[in-house]
Amino acid sequence: MTTVILVDDHELIRQGLRRAFERDADFEVVGEAGTATEALRLIGELQPGVAIVDIRLPDANGLDLVKRLRAGSEKMGIVVLTMYSGDEHLFGALEAGASAFVSKDAPAEDIVAAARHAAVSPRAFTASDLAEAMKRRLEPTGPRLSPREREVLAMLAQGLGVAAIAKQLFISESTTKTHISKIYEKLGATNRAQALMSALRLGLIRQDPSPDRP
């Protein structure tokens, strides 16, 4: 039997989750906490198999609590619960050392399933949306350049100077310089060579200079 502690400042949520875990013979809810402080005390005392932690707590960030719990124990399962959307919370939970990430609109069974997973392999992160989130994270590789910036970058790769680029694009030299400094900024570069290196690495330009110049 796996012992569970519920950490959420909303009593109703704790009540609902307790019902769900009580239906399952593999789990026993041994404690509930409404704050991070209380959670740390209870968890230190009871050493549960799994902690269910809301990402937002009145006295601390839930993810900070997760980090402290993970630092204290490698073996405890930690399931992060949230009402927020946005991938940054999912990746935040992953980085804090959580075992699983579940949103609060998911059925109670999902949370129990996540707790089951967490109890068995606390260091193998899982989330229902993980694959999609990873795809979204990788999709626009790092910086997003505007179409005009991509044009300017391509010309920089061809070795054109500021004046030549300005002339070809029918824009002023100062505008061209602004585009270039934005490109440097987005690519984290301080000069043309660095910018071109990281653009190559990110696949923004190809190795062979494109022959189709207008």
Partner: protein, 545 residues
């Protein structure tokens, strides 16, 4: 600025008091002199002469006081002159002595105890210096006691004034500021109720451009104000101005005008183009630059000194535009705060309660023995999940905002991405931004319009695909949101949303069109445009030849 205003009004108050004191004392002295002249042998002619000199001294003192309002030397010199007048020409002429109170009062108000002592001292010194020559025999004793009485009275008046001044300085700082601020806020409230979009910086900027167009022609012009990252952003423009050099770090004309606070012109366009002339004028309030107005055209300006007169018509506009910008900033801050509060309220309230209901339904379904009941409970559970999912997105929407570092493009793509994650729609996003940004308020309104139309598509259209296109080219911008759903229905569900979108678009001065796509689905199109250059400007330019 307010501090200077109060000091200014305090000076006016003090000058009024000085004038009143002088007038009263002149009347008193005249009365006393006339009464005195009845008992004197040397007639009224002398008396009138002395009185005219006293009046002249008083007028001189008032004029000099207006020229050097903070100088204590004016009342000191005034007191000394009066003392000389009292002694001159077979003095002393005691009826003129009361006038000494006037300079003492003023000196006390200007410079406190120091001023009072200096004025009384100057008068006393003059009396002492003149006494051996002028005093007629036999009068010496009465004279010196009367003179010293008046010198002491003048000193006392000056000290009283110094005391009053200290009280005044203390109260002017605290009490007067409140009524003034209150008046200002009341005016703002009145104005904001009359204008559809509150105190509208955009319209004010267009009025400025119109005024400049009337005074001198231009092909392209724009009003720039500092943006979130310290660069200049277009507040309002006529003609297409995106490639102008607005960097404050460069050696461009706008940067020069911004730092020098003086209008300037160049024999080239703002993007360095030959054959154009450009002019930039500062929008200043006191010693602060709050914006730059830039004009460009093909033919050279008529007169160089035009710059100063053009700059002068901007002074009032600067104050108005700055106030409007502050007002809209306050509104933005208040709105953002309210949105965060709403997000917290939904997050901690109804969202959690519905989530709990979901868990209860899960429990009931798990315990139920009857299969049909289980099925119904699962269906109900799916509905609750959907509603909680909607609430989660609402919370996200309320929390996402345009900020200093996060421009419209970044905020929009974050939002659209999370919609893609949370709904069945495939989202296609096209972003095209120039390095220059729109004013933050405009970005915020555009983001809200996009959110509203995306929400409509998600909730009501059953669309498979969503296309979001955003092109920003300040001061122009265009945002389109298309879906392949069921299209505009009766409009009952979302009419409130559409109304709010229209209000937002109006506030921006943008056009909003909502139509049904030929292929099916809905298209929302928001266009924020630079005002097209009128043909009149060409004629205006031609006239200058």
């Amino acid at each position: 600025m307010l501090g200077a205003f109060f000091t200014g009004s305090a000076i006016v108050e003090r000058q009024r008091l000085g004038l009143a004191a002088r007038a009263t004392l002149l009347l008193l002295c005249s009365g006393l002199s006339l009464v005195d002249s009845l008992h004197q042998a040397n007639g009224s002619l002398d008396v009138l002469g002395r009185l005219s000199v006293l009046v002249a001294i008083a007028i001189l003192a008032v004029v000099a006081g207006a020229a050097w309002p903070q100088s204590v030397w004016v009342p000191v010199a005034e007191a000394a002159s009066v003392a000389v007048l009292v002694m001159a020409n077979a003095g002393p002429h005691q009826p003129l002595l009361p006038y000494l109170l006037a300079p003492a009062l003023e000196a006390g108000l200007i410079a406190g105890v120091r001023g009072a002592v200096a004025t009384a001292g100057a008068a006393a010194a003059m009396f002492l210096a003149a006494s051996p020559f002028e005093i007629r025999k036999g009068q010496s004793l009465t004279y010196s006691s009367t003179a010293s009485e008046w010198v002491l009275l003048a000193l006392a008046t000056g000290l009283l004034a110094a005391w009053a001044r200290r009280l005044g300085v203390r109260t002017a700082g605290s009490n007067e500021a409140y009524p003034a601020a209150y008046r200002l806020m009341t005016q703002l409230r009145t104005v904001s109720r009359h204008l559809s979009g509150g105190l509208d910086a955009l319209s004010l900027a267009h009025i400025v451009l119109q005024q400049l167009r009337d005074r001198t022609g231009f092909d392209r012009a724009a009003v720039f104000v500092p943006g979130p990252e310290g660069e200049l952003v277009v507040l309002a423009g006529e003609g297409n101005v995106p490639d102008w050099d607005t960097s404050l770090a460069s050696d461009g004309l706008m940067a020069e005008v911004w730092s020098q606070q003086r209008g300037a012109a160049r024999q080239s366009g703002f993007s360095g183009t030959k054959g154009l002339v450009s002019m930039a004028l500062p929008l200043t309030i006191g010693a602060r630059t709050v914006g730059v107005v830039a004009l460009e055209r093909r033919f050279k300006w008529e007169m160089e000194d035009d710059i100063d007169s053009l700059t002068s018509i901007l002074d009032e506009a600067a104050l108005r535009i700055e106030t409007a910008l502050l007002f809209s900033e306050i509104r933005t801050i208040a709105t953002a705060e309210e949105r965060r509060r709403l997000a917290r309220e939904i997050h901690d309230g109804i969202a959690q309660e519905l989530a709990f209901l979901g868990y209860v339904l899960d429990d009931l379904a798990a315990r139920s023995e009857q299969e049909d009941m289980q099925g119904e409970l699962r269906d109900l559970r799916a509905q609750v999940t959907r509603v909680v999912g909607d609430l989660r997105l609402s919370i996200f929407e309320l929390r996402s905002e345009v900020q200093g570092q996060t421009g419209l493009g970044a905020a929009l793509s974050d939002y659209v991405r999370s919609i893609g994650a949370a709904s069945a729609m495939t989202v296609h996003l096209v972003l095209d931004e120039t390095p220059n940004r729109l004013p933050v308020e405009a970005e915020a309104e555009l983001l809200r319009i996009a959110q509203e139309s995306v929400t409509n598509a998600r909730k009501h259209s059953g669309a498979q695909n969503l296309w979001v296109t955003c092109r920003i080219n300040p001061p122009a911008a265009r945002l389109t949101i298309e879906d392949d759903g069921t299209g505009l229905g009766t409009g009952r569900d979302d009419s409130y949303g559409i109304q709010i979108m229209r209000e937002r678009a109006d506030r921006l001065g943008a056009t909003l069109s909502i139509s049904t796509r030929p292929e099916g689905g809905t298209k929302v199109d928001v266009a924020l445009q630079a005002r097209p250059v009128e043909i009149a400007s060409d004629q205006g330019a031609g006239r200058d030849q």
